[in-house]
């Protein structure tokens, strides 16, 4: 299959279909509505089902019901709608059900606007709903990467029986790029003998629940969940580095901003400034390794975000005082320009050729 020119939201949808997702429950919200519309057209072609729910809350709970039967199922939304899904996401975690939830982030808080942002970082990486939990979060930076990560999101969901968040900013959802869909090999996945499909003479009945009235029992359950989160932290870290080997300063950015930051880095390099990039792909688990490897040799890090400074807190934790951590961010849906980021590099580094 050759390259096709597609919109980001549609790439997510097609990649999900190709990953074996046959069920989608969604609700329109800008800037992710094309994903919903694509699924409405596409899923009937593969014998799947698209249903437009009456609200984001209903959609995530339909996902909960469908996930309980063991199928690959997805929903998507954008920031205000994603907030509404938090209740259901907490239940998916508590009941250990696999699903993929897409958040194409827009400016907030409140109704905000429909411009691209990354200001849901805390919400996706620090729990978001009630209770102690973490969810794997994958943040692609290009449409081609969406193809790969959407498929991986479903695999991670099935492997750990957890919801997985695919997070992109509105720019990624709305932009068009040539992409190639590559026939993937089916991963070896655990059998879903926990699914509620009607017992049909097939052993004892099954119950899906997150209720545990006894405090000690619930603590035991939480401990098991925490062990699972630790396994995910060990196995599912994803990141890329760019020109970090000899860097004096390292930029940290994900998604669309990482691409703009790379251009700023290229410009800085032309001026002889040794600047590199760490691009987290999994926002949770946050990639600590590239920081452990560099924090004692670099002079500092600069986190660049489309938020008032959220990921920078994880950068500080990873750096743990070993180097300076600076921040540059724009909010409200403003996308930082290459020049702005370059100027920030000059300010932080002193513009000195080293």
């Amino acid at each position: 299959m050759g390259k096709v020119l597609m919109k980001g939201n549609e790439v997510i949808a097609e990649a999900a279909v190709q990953a074996g997702c046959k069920y989608f429950f969604g609700y329109p919200i800008t800037p992710q509505s094309e994903l919903v519309a694509y699924m409405a057209r596409r899923l009937p072609e593969v014998g799947g089902l698209f249903l437009q729910a009456e609200s984001e809350i209903a959609a995530i709970n339909m996902v909960y019901g469908a996930a309980g039967t063991g199928v690959r199922v997805m929903t998507s939304s954008s920031s205000p709608g994603f907030s509404l899904k938090q209740e259901g996401i907490s239940y998916l975690v508590g009941s250990e059900l696999p699903a993929v939830v897409v958040n194409i982030v827009r400016g907030g808080p409140g109704l905000g606007n429909i411009q691209p942002a990354q200001s849901d970082y805390f919400q996706v990486t620090k729990g978001g709903g009630h209770g102690d939990y973490n969810i794997p979060v994958l943040a692609p930076a290009s449409l081609q990467e969406i193809v790969e990560l959407t498929s991986e999101a479903f695999d991670i969901a099935d492997r750990y029986r957890t919801p997985v968040i695919l997070m992109g900013d509105g720019m990624l959802g709305q932009m068009m790029e040539p992409v190639e869909f590559i026939d993937g090999t089916e991963s070896e996945l655990p059998e879903k003998n926990w699914a509620t499909t009607g017992t049909r003479g097939d052993g004892p009945r099954r119950i899906i629940t997150s209720l545990e009235l006894n405090a000690k029992s619930l603590e035991t359950r939480n401990e098991a969940l925490q062990k699972k989160f630790a396994r995910i932290k060990e196995n599912e870290v994803r990141y890329k580095t760019y020109l970090t080997d000899d860097a004096d300063y390292i930029m940290v950015a994900f998604g669309t901003v990482a691409r703009i930051t790379m251009n700023a880095i290229n410009k800085a390099r032309q001026q002889g400034l040794k600047v590199g990039l760490i691009r987290p792909i999994s926002l949770w688990p946050f990639p600590e390794k590239p920081f452990l490897e560099t924090r004692d040799v670099v002079k500092g890090y600069i986190s660049v975000e489309m938020s008032a400074g959220q990921m920078v807190e994880d950068v500080r934790l990873a750096v743990n005082g070993h180097a300076e951590v600076d921040f540059y961010g724009r909010t409200g849906g403003v996308v930082p320009t290459q020049e702005e980021i370059y100027q920030k590099i000059l300010t932080v580094t002193g513009g000195i050729t080293v």
């Binding site: 069920y23 009456e54 709970n61 339909m62 909960y64 309980g68 239940y91 509620t196 009607g198």
Partner: protein, 250 residues
């Protein structure tokens, strides 16, 4: 002398003892649903969806695959299950706080879509599990923890009549309100539950049985007085009968 079994517990329920208060009719209603599932021989093809409230643990009692839903969301969860498994039977078991308050949107839209699910709606006109607060179904003048002077229509509005409301929607196939306050009505209730599951079996659309039920603990009445209270106060406010039967006409 050989003994003949004339009555036994339905296989539609597990052996778990229920947690319901003395005089509460949840136990009776559970048994009716269990008996219908057993008599229709569909227990192994059924997935039940438990709600939040007093019936939150119903997944421990029904002898079939069960999923526990968030407060009010059972019809959305049931939609997800049924749309993946259209040849299975899917039912929700919800109280009035769950269905008529926080979950009113989910039940209206599931009904409007004509989801081929069966909703067992237990209406005791009060929040039981949380300690006797006002429900959308609380009667005018009824005293609860949050209407200590009695529900005042000018302040708290009027009770929601769920059967009447859902019967107006094209997607509903079978809607009936019954009561569990005495034996003849319990028998009628069982027939209604059977009809609702048969509507699902025949793919006719959304089916719901509302069952007027008791809450002696939060009503502050003994079990017998509670049954009388259903008859004397709830039935006049919530008339019994078939509100929709697309086979039999309205």
């Amino acid at each position: 002398m050989s003994m003949k079994t004339v009555f036994k517990k339905t296989n539609g329920l597990t052996d778990n003892p229920t947690h319901y208060c003395p005089g509460c009719t949840h136990g009776v209603i559970h048994r009716l649903v269990g008996e219908v599932l057993e008599e229709m021989d569909i227990l192994e093809d059924t997935i039940g969806v438990a709600s939040v409230g007093c019936s939150v643990l119903s997944y421990e009692y029904f002898n079939c695959d069960m999923t526990q839903a968030a407060h009010g969301r059972a019809p959305a969860v049931a939609t997800g299950v049924k749309r993946v498994l259209p040849d299975r039977y899917v039912f929700t078991y919800q109280g009035d706080g769950d269905l008529a308050s926080i979950g009113i949107s989910e039940v209206i839209h599931a009904a409007a879509r004509g989801e081929k699910i069966t909703v067992i709606f237990v209406n005791n006109a009060i929040y039981g599990m949380t300690g006797g607060q006002m429900a959308p179904t609380t009667l005018i003048g009824q005293k609860t923890a949050t209407t200590p002077f009695g529900r005042d229509e000018s302040i708290q509005g009027s009770p929601i009549k769920v059967c009447e409301m859902l019967a107006t929607l094209d997607g509903t196939a079978y809607i009936e309100r019954v009561s569990a306050h005495d034996v003849p009505h319990i028998q009628k209730a069982k027939r209604a539950i059977r009809k609702a599951f048969e509507a699902q079996k025949n793919g006719l659309g959304f089916s719901m049985v509302e069952i007027l039920s008791t809450c002696p603990t939060n009503w502050g009445l003994d079990p017998y007085e509670s049954l009388e209270w259903v008859k004397d106060n709830m039935i006049p406010a919530y008339p019994l009968g078939v509100y929709k039967n697309i086979e039999g006409g309205q």
